[in-house]
Symmetry: C2
Subunit: 338 residues, 2 copies
C-alpha cells in the first residue's frame, strides 16, 4: 500500500525541473516541527513565510537556528509574521499548529492560500483533513505524517534529535483512497531537495490509523503513568497493556475498512524497544501545562469506530483519564499564570 | 439477602449470656483497622491480644489511644506481642493485616488459633478466605467487610473519622452461600457490645463483589489520577468512567453467579457524591510508599471472572496501570530507605 518515493521519483523530478516553477510555502506554527521543516525548505532555496506568536519579535530579528543530527545551520533572516493577514497567498500552506488550535483554521486559511494552492496538514491524530476540507474544499487537502523527533529549546532555536521522514497522502471526501497525485509529487520533490526523506501513500486513512498504533498507547500512557517509552516496555504489565491498546487500534481501523496486520504491531513494539528512551509530544505538552491533543489523537478515532458500531473500551478509558488530567492541568496552568 | 443483625439479635444475646463463655480475640495487625476494633472489644470487657511490628515498643508501654467520632478513649494497658508464637491460642483470630502480608499467614495462623476457633478476615478484595481455608479448613473461616474510615496518626494513636459497620458472612468451600451461622451471631454479639454496628449476610461472595463495586473504581483511579472521590465525581469523563468500571464489576459478579442490580450502582454513585472528599486506602498506601493491595482488589476478581470465560477490559487496564505504579513506587521506596 505504501510506495517508497525513491522508487519512482527520478522521472517526476525531471518533469518538475522542466516546469521550473517554484512553489511558495506558508508555515503556520513555527515550533519544533514547523520551524524545522520550514527552515530546511528555505535553506534549499524555496520561499517560506513563517507565522509566529510568542516568538515573533525574536525570530523576526534573529532568524532561526537549527541544531540537527543532519548538520547545524542558521538562517539569520526569515520572513516572519505575527499576523496571518499580512502573509502573501502561498502555493502550499503547511499546518504545523497544535491541533488544540485548529478552531482558528476557518479564519486563518482562506487569505493565505492561493486559488490553486493546497493545504498540507502536518498534524497528529485523525479527522483534521476533513475539517480543513470543509474550509478549502476536499481536493485541496493533503495529509502528512511526520516521523520527527525535535524540540524547541528556546525562541527560534530548534533541536532536531532524530528521524524526520514525512509520509504524504492526498485527502478525498470521506477519506476515500485516491492514489498518488501530481501535487503530492511536487511537494515531495521540494522536501527531498530540502533533505527530508519522503514517502508517498495511496490511502491517507490507512496511514493515519497506522500512526495511531504507536501514538495511542505511548502518548496516552506516558502522561497517565508519568513514564517514558523504555519504562513502559520494561514492565511486564504495561508492556502487555501497550500491545492490547495497539490491537484495539487495529479493531478501530478495521471498523473503518482499513486492515492493519498483526505483524505491524510486532514491528512497532520491536522498534520502540530499540529506540532511545523517548518523551512523547503529549507528555511534553502536559509537563508544559499546555492543552493536550486528546480529541484528535483519541476522541476522533473513538468516534470514527463508534459510528461503525464498534467500541474500543481500553482506548476509551485512556481518553477519559487524559480528559480528566488535561482539564485539571489546564486549570492549574491558568491559576499559575494569573 | 442481607439480614440486619438487630432484627433478630435479642434472642441470641440471651442465649449467649446463658452460656456466659466469653470469646478471646487475637488481633493480627494493630493498625487503623485492627487497632480500632480490638480496642473497642477490650473496652467492652473482652480479652484481646494485639500483634504489632514497628509499634510494639510504644504500645506495650503506652497502650492505645482512640480518637473517635463516637467518643475518645484510652487503654493504658493492652496485651501486646511482637512475636506471634508468644500469643495464646484464641477463639477468634482477626486478620487485620494488609493483604500484601498474607504470604505470612501459613506460619502465623496455626499457633494462635484454638482448636474450635475461627479466623475472621477483615480485609479488602476477593479470595482471601479461600487462602485462609487452605490453612485452617473451610468451616473455620468467616469474612468481614468493614465500612470504616480511620487512620493511624502515630504509633498507638488511631483516629476514627466515620462509619465502622462490619458485614459478616461465613465462608464455605468454593464460596457457596451457607446462610447465617451460630458462630457469626456470637462474633456479631461481641462487636455489638463493643459499640460496632453489625450486619449478617448469607452469601459471602455476593457481599465481597458488592464491596468491589465501590473499591475498584475509586481505589484504582485515586492512585492512577492522583485524585480524591470528589474530583472524580465532578469531572464528566471520570464520572462516566467510574460508572463503566462499576458495571464491569457487575459483569464479573454475574460471571460468578452473583447478581447485583443496576440500582446498586446508582446507590454507590449517589452515596459517593454525598460523601466528604475521601482519600482511599490504596492511595494512602501509595503515598506512604507501601505496597498496594492490587492482587486481592483487582487481580483476584479479574482471575475469578476470567476462569468463567469473562474478560473485564477496563478493570484489567486499571490493574496493569496499578501494577506498574506499585512496582515503581516500591523500588523508589526501597531506594529511599537504603
Amino acid at each position: 500500500m505504501d510506495t517508497k518515493f525513491s522508487n519512482n521519483s527520478a522521472n517526476n523530478r525531471v518533469n518538475l525541473q522542466n516546469h521550473a516553477i517554484k512553489q511558495t510555502y506558508a508555515i503556520l506554527g513555527t515550533g519544533a516541527l514547523g520551524g524545522f521543516y520550514g527552515a530546511c525548505l528555505q535553506r534549499a532555496g524555496l520561499e517560506a513565510h513563517f507565522l509566529l506568536k510568542s516568538d515573533y519579535e525574536y525570530v523576526s530579528q534573529q532568524g532561526l537556528r537549527i541544531e540537527s543530527v543532519a548538520g547545524d545551520f542558521t538562517l539569520p533572516h526569515v520572513r516572519a509574521y505575527a499576523d496571518i493577514q499580512q502573509m502573501p497567498a502561498c502555493d502550499v500552506v503547511v499546518v504545523a499548529l497544535k491541533t488544540t488550535q485548529n478552531h482558528l483554521l476557518p479564519q486563518m486559511l482562506p487569505s493565505v492560500l492561493k486559488e490553486d494552492g493546497v493545504v498540507l496538514v502536518l498534524q497528529n491524530g485523525l479527522g483534521v483533513e476533513a475539517q480543513v476540507a470543509e474550509i478549502v474544499g476536499a481536493e485541496r487537502v493533503i495529509g502528512g505524517l511526520c516521523f520527527l523527533c525535535s524540540n524547541k529549546v528556546q525562541p527560534g532555536h530548534i533541536r532536531h534529535l532524530a528521524y524526520g521522514q514525512i509520509n504524504l497522502a492526498a485527502y478525498a471526501s470521506g477519506y476515500q483512497s485516491v492514489g498518488i497525485t501530481e501535487r503530492m509529487r511536487q511537494i515531495a520533490n521540494d522536501f527531498e531537495q530540502a533533505g527530508i526523506s519522503m514517502q508517498l501513500s495511496e490511502d491517507l486513512l490507512l496511514v493515519r490509523w497506522q500512526k495511531l498504533v504507536w501514538n495511542i498507547p505511548y502518548n496516552g500512557l506516558s502522561v497517565v503513568l508519568d513514564a517514558k517509552t523504555d519504562e513502559l516496555m520494561e514492565n511486564r504489565d504495561t508492556r502487555a497493556l501497550v500491545e492490547q491498546l495497539m490491537r484495539e487500534v487495529l479493531v478501530g481501523a478495521a471498523a473503518c475498512d482499513r486492515i492493519i496486520s498483526d505483524s505491524f504491531v510486532s514491528k512497532m513494539l520491536d522498534y520502540t524497544v530499540k529506540m532511545k528512551p523517548y518523551q512523547t509530544s503529549m507528555k511534553i505538552d502536559y509537563d508544559s501545562k499546555r492543552p493536550m491533543e486528546v480529541e484528535t489523537m483519541f476522541g476522533n478515532p473513538l468516534r470514527a469506530a463508534y459510528q461503525q458500531g464498534v467500541k474500543l473500551p481500553q482506548i476509551e478509558m485512556l481518553y477519559q483519564q487524559l480528559k480528566f488530567l488535561d482539564s485539571r492541568n489546564c486549570s492549574r496552568g491558568r491559576a499559575n499564570n494569573s
